[in-house]
């Protein structure tokens, strides 16, 4: 029953999506891969599309995967499921449990969750860069095109930060990478 799977899968994502936009990406990868909804490659494309379209990344990904798996109803089910936990928790906190989050035991759990999420995001980033440039660990094969593009992008990101004292916006990084992809893979 695909609707139930979408609902439960994205409910899980919604319950554990700590750490902002990027915190949810490893979770969504986890759920999507375990159900076999999308290939890793397609998911990565969609992360870029979500980054370049309005709205929270988590909601964008839920809508896309739901629509991809089960059309419009699937998109609605996945989107509602991913938002529901944070909606209910905020209602609970503002209406009833004003001090629940200040409870020292809750705070102790949260102090463990946050670094864990950071570690997971870091691992996901390292893994993606590794997989792009070298393929699988069981059959390492250098992808020279990918390495060239990585170097160009890292230089652009670090250079911009050094000279302009602020981060290159993610949308600009994506546009630059698209141009580099067309140029490097096209010739």
């Amino acid at each position: 029953m695909i609707y139930l799977q979408l609902f439960l899968g994205f409910l899980k994502v919604g319950c554990f999506a700590f750490g902002g936009a990027y915190g949810a990406i490893p979770l969504i990868r986890d759920v999507v891969m375990s159900y076999g909804w999308l290939s890793g490659e397609m998911l990565t494309y969609m992360i870029a599309v979500s980054e370049s379209t309005p709205g929270p990344i988590m909601v964008n990904l839920a809508t896309y995967i739901g629509s991809n798996q089960a059309g419009f109803p699937g998109a609605v089910v996945a989107t509602v499921a991913v938002v529901l936990p944070s909606f209910l928790i905020i209602l609970l906190v503002t209406a009833l449990l004003k001090t629940a989050l200040k409870n020292k035991y809750v705070q102790a759990v949260l102090r463990g969750l946050k670094p864990c999420v950071i570690g997971i995001v870091l691992a996901t980033g390292i893994y993606m860069v590794f997989a792009n440039c070298m393929g699988s660990i069981f059959a390492v094969e250098l992808n020279y095109n990918a390495i060239i593009i990585s170097v160009i992008l890292i230089a652009a990101m670090l250079g911009y930060k050094y000279f302009r004292k602020k981060k290159l916006s993610p949308i600009l990084v994506i546009i630059l990478s698209a141009a580099a992809g067309i140029f490097v893979y096209g010739i």
Binding site: T63, I90, A108, R111, G112, T124, I149, M157
Partner: protein, 192 residues
């Protein structure tokens, strides 16, 4: 104008014009809800930002739910939350209808091969920013390092282990250390 409709439209506008989500939205929400509409105060906004950090889900959605609830109870929360979701839902649903065909064009496929690399780097960059803001203490650092190594192995060797389990374990470890350290017993003690 009807308050529910007003909430819906205001948050739909915020949802439509903020890219990249997260903190970009806070500036927009401050501008419309505090200065323009005066639905909530600066202090309330600060509070909800802190709450958002401790609860799951995008901060923009947390802010919408909170503001809607303050102004018009449960229906208000529903209207504001729907408002912030509907634009991104519509845009992505539209894209999902033709993305597959789009990727069959060779030049677009090449562009996406480049984009794939950018996504990995953006995630690394986000992690670096989070590490910089992290508490400079032993326990969080140790948890961070362990979780990173475990997740890296899970990804590289395709182990069957969910990141949710890892988060639950990290929460339990942190709680256990807190209780064993005797901090809860100390009167008004600073947590350690």
């Amino acid at each position: 104008m009807n308050i529910l409709l007003d909430l819906f439209l205001t948050f739909a506008k915020i949802g439509l014009f903020t890219f990249g989500g997260g903190y970009a939205m806070i500036a927009m929400i401050e501008n419309s809800c505090i200065e323009h509409k005066q639905w909530i105060t600066h202090d309330e906004m600060m509070n909800i930002t802190v709450v958002a950090e401790s609860t799951p889900g995008p901060i923009a959605i947390n802010c919408a739910t909170f503001t809607g609830y303050k102004k018009a109870g449960f229906p208000g929360a529903l209207a504001a939350t729907l408002g912030i979701i509907v634009p991104s839902f519509a845009v992505i649903y539209f894209i999902s209808m033709f993305l597959d065909h789009f990727l069959e064009i060779e030049m677009i496929a090449d562009a996406f091969k480049g984009i794939k690399i950018a996504v990995g780097l953006l995630i690394l960059d986000a992690a670096a920013t989070m590490i910089k803001k992290m508490q400079k203490k032993k326990l969080p650092r140790a948890i961070m390092a362990c979780c990173c190594i475990i997740m890296l192995c899970v990804n590289l060797f395709a182990w069957n282990f969910s990141s949710i389990n890892l988060m639950l374990i990290a929460g339990i470890v942190s709680l256990t250390v807190f209780i064993l350290s005797g901090a809860p017993a100390r009167k008004g003690g600073k947590e350690g």
